[in-house]
């Protein structure tokens, strides 16, 4: 079977993706069935034996459909060939342009699923000093030769526990960015507990994006996201998130995500997506937990049918809203696929860039490929005070792409997930270059929903990206 196309049916719509050109085609049932019988290269004349394989259609109908298929094939947007391997083979170590800055290896919550060992990544509770924050800026400027846009995400633990370090780091970067022809984009990922008027004002002035953690319904959130004394945090954080988002109006500072995690305990997570939307938020991301398979809350293979049904349900809710209003009810991060203006093919070969153009830095200044590798000694890449970066590890990640990962060269989703999360491969499959099987299955399901939703949006808006309608009141 060819790996150059992917056929799927989403809610009665027959969709064919041409993997290598990115072409998305909505087809009727005959074409859908006929395409399933074809193998490239195609010739102008329909292959012999097709009418016998598809007896429910007349030979005339099949020929008419084949002619349309052949026309798209001739245009290079159906059964097109993969011509990107040469770019991957040229992959070399790139400038570092993005940093996950762990300003705090401490947290004021004790979330039961925390992959960071409740904040300290197993390395002891620590807060980064302002001096180390400023040093991280110097390091990023030095290592980002040729790159103008630099990203720095304040992460933890809970980054707002290191508020003075955050301010010192941002203020220092702003004071030097013009001199070095750099444009810093700051983001923060927070649990919301320490938000107050001053922090909200500063975040909305300086941070181009902020990620606000909330798992959805109060009982779902408060079962997992608890304080040191075991009390749920929902009632504390939701009003603060509303205040932050309502006042997030500065140009270039309007992006945000309310981001939740779902686990085996709330496989009906679409209820949580809708709950967050009904709170008035319109930029949402609710994602499967990252956890070892023996954790009681871990997503396991037997959960997949239920999760797929939930993704289908969410697709239907969003698609119906688009059909009725021409607008999406909200943005759901994993369904956001721009079918026309997405990233270039070169970017899609390597994905997140971890360990190469993206690194994580701990409170002590240690460098790791990304936040999920922090605390794993064999992946330590250096320290910002020494200014060294392990070139072998950087080159390894530069050469980690869809043609060097197990299963990816033949997978239809390769230009949408770019091989998936390297850390998940290492942590759960024992090898960076072995994609995590459950994550792959979830990714493919979400991509089908996202592509199908892109079709709805495109048809409703004449090809333009649809705006979201806020507040959501779909139920």
């Amino acid at each position: 079977m060819t790996n150059t196309i992917h056929r799927f049916i989403q809610d009665g719509e027959y969709i064919v993706l041409d993997v290598n050109s990115g072409g998305v085609h909505v087809v009727d049932e005959i074409v859908y069935d006929l395409i399933g019988e074809l193998e490239p290269p195609l010739s102008e004349k329909m292959p012999a034996g097709i009418p016998e394989k598809l007896p429910k259609y007349s030979a005339e109908e099949l020929k008419e459909c084949y002619d349309e298929i052949y026309s798209l094939y001739s245009d290079g947007i159906l059964f097109s060939t993969d011509e990107y391997r040469k770019y991957a083979e040229l992959s070399v170590k790139a400038p570092i342009k993005a940093m996950c800055l762990h300003v705090s290896h401490d947290c004021d919550l004790r979330c039961k699923y925390c992959f960071a060992s409740t904040g300290d990544f197993g390395t002891g509770r620590k807060i980064m000093t302002p001096e180390t924050g400023r040093k991280a800026i110097d390091f990023l400027i030095e290592k980002s030769y040729g790159r103008e846009n630099l990203e720095l995400d304040f992460f933890g633990g809970e980054p707002l526990m290191a508020w003075e370090t955050i301010k010192a780091t941002v203020d220092y970067a702003r004071s030097v960015e013009k001199q070095y022809n750099k444009n810093f984009r700051f983001t923060v990922t927070t649990n919301g507990m320490l938000l107050n008027d001053e922090k909200i004002e500063y975040i909305n002035r300086e941070m181009s994006n902020c990620v606000l953690s909330l798992d959805g319904r109060k009982e779902v959130n408060d079962n997992i996201r608890v304080t040191r004394s075991g009390k749920g945090c929902y009632d504390i954080i939701v009003p603060k998130y509303r205040q932050l988002v309502e006042s997030r109006v500065n140009p270039g500072r309007t992006d945000y995500y309310v981001r939740g995690t779902f686990t085996k305990y709330n496989l009906d997570f679409v209820e949580d997506v809708l709950h967050i939307a009904e709170l008035g938020f319109d930029q949402l991301s609710v994602e499967p937990v990252t956890a070892p398979s023996d954790a009681p809350y871990a997503i396991t293979e037997e959960d997949l049918p239920e999760i797929f049904a939930q993704y289908d349900r969410l697709y239907r809710i969003m698609a119906e809203h688009v059909e009725k209003t021409g607008k999406k009810p909200f943005n759901f991060f994993h369904y956001m696929i721009d079918l026309n203006q997405g990233p270039c093919a070169v970017k899609r070969l390597r994905g997140c860039g971890c360990g190469n153009e993206y690194v994580a830095v701990t409170p002590d200044g240690d460098i790791y490929p990304c936040h999920q590798f922090v605390g794993i000694d064999e992946w330590k890449m250096g320290n910002i005070y020494q200014g060294n970066v392990d070139a072998d590890i950087a080159n390894y990640f530069a050469k980690t792409h869809i043609y060097s990962k197990e299963g990816c060269p033949d997978c239809w989703a390769r230009f949408y997930c770019s091989g998936g999360c390297n850390a998940n491969g290492f942590i759960y499959e024992g090898d960076v270059r072995k994609p995590h099987k459950i994550q792959c299955a979830l990714m493919k399901k979400r991509l089908e929903c996202g592509i199908a939703l892109g079709v709805k949006v495109s048809e409703a808006s004449g090809g333009e990206a649809a705006e979201t309608a806020v507040p959501y009141s779909g139920r």
Binding site: D18, N20, S21, G22, G23, V24, H25, V26, V27, I30, E64, C65, E68, L72, I77, Y87, A94, K97, A98, C100, F115, E148, N149, E151, D153, F155, N209, V211, Y257, R259, S285, E287, P288, T290, F333, M336, D338, N340, Q341, P343, C344, A345, V346, R348, G351, C352, G353, C354, E357, Y358, C370, Y416, C417, S418, C421, Q439, L442, M443, G454, V455
Partner: protein, 47 residues
């Protein structure tokens, strides 16, 4: 066409020619931090 509607420009191959400029956002910095998706990133060279 009677049986097929093509929804988009299908221009992925063209993007390879001038791709890799590095202006765009690093995907893991956007929202996920755990479940990498690339296709929802925007190309900033075309902005």
């Amino acid at each position: 066409m009677k049986h097929i509607r093509t929804i988009n420009k299908a221009n992925l191959k063209k993007t390879a020619e001038k791709g890799g400029c590095g202006k765009c956002q690093t995907s893991c910095q956007s929202a996920c931090k755990t479940s990498c998706t690339i296709a929802n990133q925007q190309c900033e060279a075309n902005k």
